[in-house]
Subunit: 197 residues, 2 copies
């Protein structure tokens, strides 16, 4: 009862990640009371996204351009591919301006539980890029989970024997991290991977 | 760098209530990777809202119908108006199914600080409804803030002398509320408004 007209929108909003019934109602009210300033620009931006967004044919990044902004950038080192599980990981590394090469989005990680095998990930395309682009280094920036590390080992095996260096992200204490707040796994990794000062 | 194509959408999303840069990025990725299942239905629902939503000419509620679902419902008691500051308050009372009469949305509360005077709120329209619809009771369901209570007193004064009962929401301990967690103002109100058992 009451808000019948906005209910379909509220139901859709409540299913989005990070939103629940309460924040969806608040958001729907915000949009409905600010049609010209907020709602209509948002509709246009979402339509642009629906129309324009595509997967980069090279790396699998999401962008309105194909090749994407990274792959299309002449200054990026094509000989150095950073392999990420998903686009969120790619964006995180881009925000940190941490990598001067290009990327390869796998589209997930191997998972026996979820039934995700090598053929479900963009692995063949990675091997083809490594062969065709004379890639010198593949950096495996995969999640520090069991599945992520299984995938990293699988890729390292598949790349073995080719003329390419395979590396993984360093594990250890985060910058600004207090030892007292770190989990045991990270502390163990930081100790066993200790480096000379 | 990197996610150029989605940046305009992310910037808009990050300005919505309850979202920040991080959740906006997550949401944009969710939408961009689920075009048909999530993005396009959302665009349609937002367009429907932009096209269809209007203010009820009677009470000020937001709905696709005018009069709104509440005012258009024959079973609601037109002789009993619950005055709320905004549509969010109306929806909260409707969710609780707490009120069997109709509503009146003021569009805010009086505020010297924000320069909101009686002429900025739907007060004249309320007085007209009270006179024309032979309203027996006006319930002031305004926020328990200084401005909200100032507005309630102002409305009570404007309605004095008319043949209408003016009441306010009871103040006290919330249902399920533990005294130890309540603020001093609520405890004082609960004590001074104590009732015989």
């Amino acid at each position: 009862m009451g808000a019948t007209g906005l209910d379909p929108l509220i139901r859709l909003l409540a299913r989005l990640p990070g939103l629940g019934p309460r924040s969806a109602r608040r958001l729907a009210l915000h949009l409905a009371t600010r049609r010209e300033e907020v709602l209509e620009p948002l509709v246009r931006a979402l339509q642009e996204t629906a129309r324009g967004i595509r997967r980069c044919g090279l790396c699998g990044n999401l962008d309105t351009a194909d090749p994407c902004a990274v792959c299309g950038d002449e200054r990026r080192d094509r000989g150095m591919i950073c392999v990420v599980a998903d686009v969120a990981g790619l964006w995180a590394l881009e925000r940190a301006a941490a990598h001067r090469g290009t990327y390869h989005v796998l589209g997930g990680v191997l998972s026996a539980l979820d039934g995700i095998g090598p053929e479900d990930l963009a692995i063949e395309r990675l091997l083809r890029r490594v062969a065709e682009d004379r890639v010198g280094e593949v950096i495996l920036a995969l999640p520090s989970t069991v599945d992520g590390q299984t995938t990293a080992h699988y890729l390292a095996e598949r790349l073995a024997g080719r003329d390419v260096t395979v590396s993984g992200l360093a594990r250890g204490v985060p910058v600004g991290g207090d030892l007292d707040y770190l989990d045991d796994g990270t502390l163990n990794a930081a100790l066993s991977d200790r480096r000379p000062m």
